[in-house]
Amino acid sequence: MTIGEIIGIWVAAGLTLMMFSFIYRDNAFFKLGEHLYLGISVGYFVNIQYWQVLVPDVYRAIKVNHDFLALIPSILGIFILLRLIPSLAWLSRMSFAFYIGGFAGLAIPNVLHGYFLPQLFETLRPFDAGWAGNLNQLVILLGVFTVIIFFFFSLEHKNVVGGISRVGLFFIMVSFGASFGYTVMARISLLVGRFQFLIDDWIMGVIFRQGG
């Protein structure tokens, strides 16, 4: 292991503990870490910006490929940045209108074709999967129907409709429960990941000099 790596791991471990100090309470170390993180990440994004957008899409396109059409979006892009100057902020609307409008148009048929129709198609499929499969499909049909009723705002939730929407709410709760369990899992995974770093790389790897 090189000196560089050892220093790096010590720094990383220190920063990890600094962020963990938030558990105790919001303190200066955490704030320091948070601001450091912000600065580092913005510095990183600027690089990504430069190497992955300006160089290939603007510089290379114009200088190497002589593709002067790329000048138009570049100018529109500069308009976007003018939003920071109040008197010229209105120029940015042009650029936003261009791509937000265009993507709105792109989204309608694509979302219908790629998401809405396949999901609807699958819901309406004929029952042909054996009795267990059919039963499951019936449950799905019921679930989709009642959940849509729950999010249907043109009918008062009374009597039958109320009952149906309550079934829908129950489906939603089961789904949210699943999502709840999974979210807990995600957060713990991250903690496990950090502890793996602290124990394997820092304590075992650097302090006790064991392993690779």
């Binding site: 000196i3 450091l36 957008v53 920071l84 409008g101 429960g177 899992m185």
Partner: protein, 235 residues
């Protein structure tokens, strides 16, 4: 002038929206080229839009320092970290001295070093802290206040057990033999699978169909100039 500030963007959005929408149904090569070119322009625009976020953040911290707002000392840290991180990547700096050399390929240099040992640990730790809070909330706040909350908690607990190796252990550990076949007494794994694949999928599908409808509604509102939040304030 007012026309360019107000009506012109709406016309642009309308024309772009309608053209990109209609071209979907036209299979010609020109129609494909149109979309390709739009997408290429949009990519460049997205890049600049992301830069806007970066600039306004820096602007914010710069102002904080300039007007000595509370906590402006921390803003210095942000700015200095930003400058170092940005320069290491933009300038052709690489590790030349022994000791640092082997840890990274020459292509990366100090920029990736900072990424690996500062950016990664801090971002990864940020959300892992929540594991502690979730555990404490388990004791202090997750209550079965209503039928709905109960259903949620029960489903959550089943998933939590059923989706980790402990669940498999319980499922395969306690079995009862009926007619020669072993059935699990506590089939966490199977119940979890069913919960996720059937009721969960059904509810999510119901929600998704609704969300898609509202996405389409928003897209229609943007194209026809009814929704104007993207234009920002001012005249």
């Amino acid at each position: 002038m007012l026309f360019f500030k107000r009506q012109w963007p709406i016309i642009v959005a309308f024309v772009c929206g309608i053209v990109m929408w209609a071209r979907y149904y036209i299979p010609t090569e020109q129609s494909q080229t149109l979309q390709d070119e739009f997408v290429r322009w949009a990519r460049i625009l997205f890049g600049f839009a992301a830069m806007l976020g970066i600039l306004s953040l820096l602007h914010h911290h710069w102002n904080k320092i300039k007007f000595k707002r509370p906590g402006y000392g921390f803003s210095w840290i942000t700015l200095v970290a930003f400058v170092i991180m940005a320069l290491t990547g933009l300038l052709p700096i690489s590790w030349q001295w022994i000791g640092f050399a082997e840890s990274f390929r020459d292509l990366d240099g100090p920029h990736m070093y900072l990424f690996e040992y500062m950016f990664v640990p801090m971002q990864a730790t940020m959300f892992s802290v929540l594991a502690f809070f979730i555990a404490s909330a388990g004791f202090r706040a997750f209550r079965a206040r209503s039928v709905e909350a109960t259903a949620l908690l029960v489903a959550g607990c089943i998933i939590m057990i059923g989706r980790v190796p402990v669940g498999d252990l319980i499922t395969s550990g306690w079995t009862a033999s009926i007619g020669g076949t072993d059935y699990s007494i506590l089939p966490f794994a199977q119940v979890t699978d069913w919960l996720l694949n059937i009721p969960n999928a059904a509810a999510q599908r119901g929600i998704i169909l609704g969300v898609i409808l509202s996405q389409i509604a928003i897209a229609v509102r943007i194209i026809f100039g009814i929704e104007r939040t993207y234009m920002g304030g001012g005249d």
